[in-house]
Symmetry: C2
Subunit: 202 residues, 2 copies
């Protein structure tokens, strides 16, 4: 594209660095933006620039936020004695959508994954331990582990369980089983075993 | 996402407006950018902003360019008497890659498409007619139509042919036929018919 415009070429190169965007898609996106109103393109550019200029990490739960502590950690309505541990900020949003959970979060920012060279010190486990161990007006009663049910999530759950045991806090885990609205015949064996093992009184 | 950060929510909303990017992908892209170096994100934002700040349309061929006239139209090496008509600037780049064509271009900026409410006046056909009719040192000898071989491309080719006929310029069309490197059995009937109709002496 530098044949007629360096500027266009630069935009295509930058867009092609995004995950899942190849050179052809980047060209398509750049052409689309060229046809948009200037205000619209500026709004996009500004919002991306703001991502690094304005966003902080909450010093309590490590959620991305515009103010520290984040609205959840600073809300008087949230129970500070229950902490839900998640991998990623997106998990916070998914859980918030249910409108069921009234405690606070702890965002690990990843899971232990030896294959990707991510150890316990690369995610915010120390920070979680500090939150549990600190002397505060409100003691933490329960830590709910809500990590993904894959090998890395399981390993991380086990590790956190080991680290928090000494503090005598109750450690729970969200239930794994049959998702609502599906049919049994489409469920994989691992999920079905979990569902049987975790059966409840009716 | 506004639960903890308006800034993140705004970026997700803006990214989700891009064609082919849904809300989930927009979240993924925003999270990816959050993890990048500040310089990298600023380079992306700046390159998008530049798209509307720095890019012009060549006043001769209507290609996007950083300077007017564009490098192709202002090059002494390009033959001004041959004009290749294309739908989109991307077609210019594809043709330039072949390193075969030494004439100049005319970018229509679309094709006639009644279903999308795009008529002859919405694309740069008037401008093409003006280029052909104008008194210039170098007369246009040939107009090569290189539009896509679909209904809209065909309709646009026919319309341009009708408009340019009075000027006595030679109007040609790129060949449609079997693409190189494919096997006949995988070719659709329409292409095969075109290939037979357009057969050449061996």
């Amino acid at each position: 594209m530098q044949i007629t415009s360096e500027t266009l070429e630069r935009a295509v190169e930058q867009l092609a660095r995004l995950p899942g965007v190849g050179r052809k898609s980047a060209q398509r996106l750049a052409m689309h933006l060229l046809k948009q109103e200037k205000e619209q393109v500026q709004a996009l550019a500004q919002s991306l620039s703001d991502l690094k200029e304005k966003i902080l990490y909450c010093s309590v739960c490590y959620a991305v936020t515009d103010q520290d502590p984040c609205p959840i950690c600073s809300s008087a309505k949230r129970r500070k004695n229950v902490i839900c541990v998640v991998e990623d900020i997106r998990d916070v949003y998914v859980i918030e959508k249910t409108n069921e959970f009234r405690g606070t979060y702890h965002v690990l920012g990843g899971v232990i994954s030896p294959l990707d060279d991510i150890g316990p010190d690369d995610i915010r486990i120390k920070e979680l331990v500090r939150r549990i161990s600190e002397e505060k007006e409100e003691k933490v009663d329960e830590v709910i582990l809500a990590l993904n049910p894959d090998a890395e999530g399981e390993a991380t759950s086990f590790y956190i369980n080991k680290m928090l045991k000494p503090f005598g806090v109750s450690i729970t885990r969200i239930a794994h089983g049959i998702p609502m609205g599906t049919e049994l015949e489409f469920i994989d064996e691992a999920t079905l075993s979990k569902a049987f093992a975790g059966r409840n009184a009716f």
